[in-house]
Symmetry: C2
Subunit: 129 residues, 2 copies
DNA sequence: GCGGTTAGGTCTCTAAATGAGACCTGTATT
DNA sequence: AATACAGGTCTCATTTAGAGACCTAACCGC
């Protein structure tokens, strides 16, 4: 497995990607940062409206919600639809691209859950010394 | 798949996890943030020393490297070993826990790479309007 | 028809996180 | 004696994130 990643890193650097402009980095940043992760998990459950997301994620600010949603929309990971009701309503849902990402995200959550006992133990060991 | 995640979110909230103290969130934050991701990819290739990592990640600062390494060490995802050479050398390597995480991370990178054309297209559409 | 509420944001201001880079300790090198 | 390297820490400037006021338009109760 490491060789795969080794080759990729090689390829990338050979293709002259300055670290800062690596597109994969950018996507991962958008997708794996704190709020985007939680937003995607929510939208994986069902499409949601702006304020619904706000209520589902009690500790996000409107500002960060807007910003994260825009990034994900721009990357084609979710879709924003405005309905001309009164007041107008806006729903967000995963695109196929976003759906394709979800299993990986859930795998991560699963890994974290399963690993929690070990992680907690490691922390205690670390903090004791 | 969504039901799985639905149940988890349910469970968590039922267990009275305030969003802020959710341990899984914390681990994901440590593991999926910008620098930790890159560090783990590097250490997935081979164990490395501090300055070696610094050179491999040309745009990280010492400060953030130290900090990220400490977090990952505390969570038991990597191991720090000091050798009493002169000058003393310090190597970082993945623990079993960390090795277990690597495939998921590589899957994400892979998803991002495969999805790049679609993502780039989505961005252009978004920016045009 | 006045006050309050909802949706979906934006704007401003403050607080916290990050980045750049000087500095430190100890040994070896020239 | 001066310089270099490893592996950091410390300080300070810049970025980013968070809290919350504000906005528009429409509806509800009374």
């Amino acid at each position: 497995m490491p060789e795969v990643s080794a080759r990729k890193l090689q390829d990338w650097t050979e293709q002259g990607f300055e670290p800062g402009n690596c597109p994969v980095r950018q996507v991962l940043d958008h997708v794996s940062a704190k709020w985007p992760v939680l937003i995607l998990l929510e939208l994986g459950l069902k499409p949601m409206r702006f304020n619904e997301l706000l209520r589902a994620l009690p500790d996000i600010s409107k500002r960060m919600l807007t910003q994260s949603l825009r990034n994900l929309e721009r990357d084609g990971i979710l879709r924003r639809e405005v309905f001309d009701t009164k007041p107008p309503s806006v729903t967000y849902s995963l695109t196929d691209l976003g759906e394709g990402f979800l299993p990986h995200l859930l795998a991560l959550v699963d890994w974290a859950e399963k690993g929690m006992p070990e992680i907690v133990a490691a922390r205690q060991r670390f903090d004791r010394t």
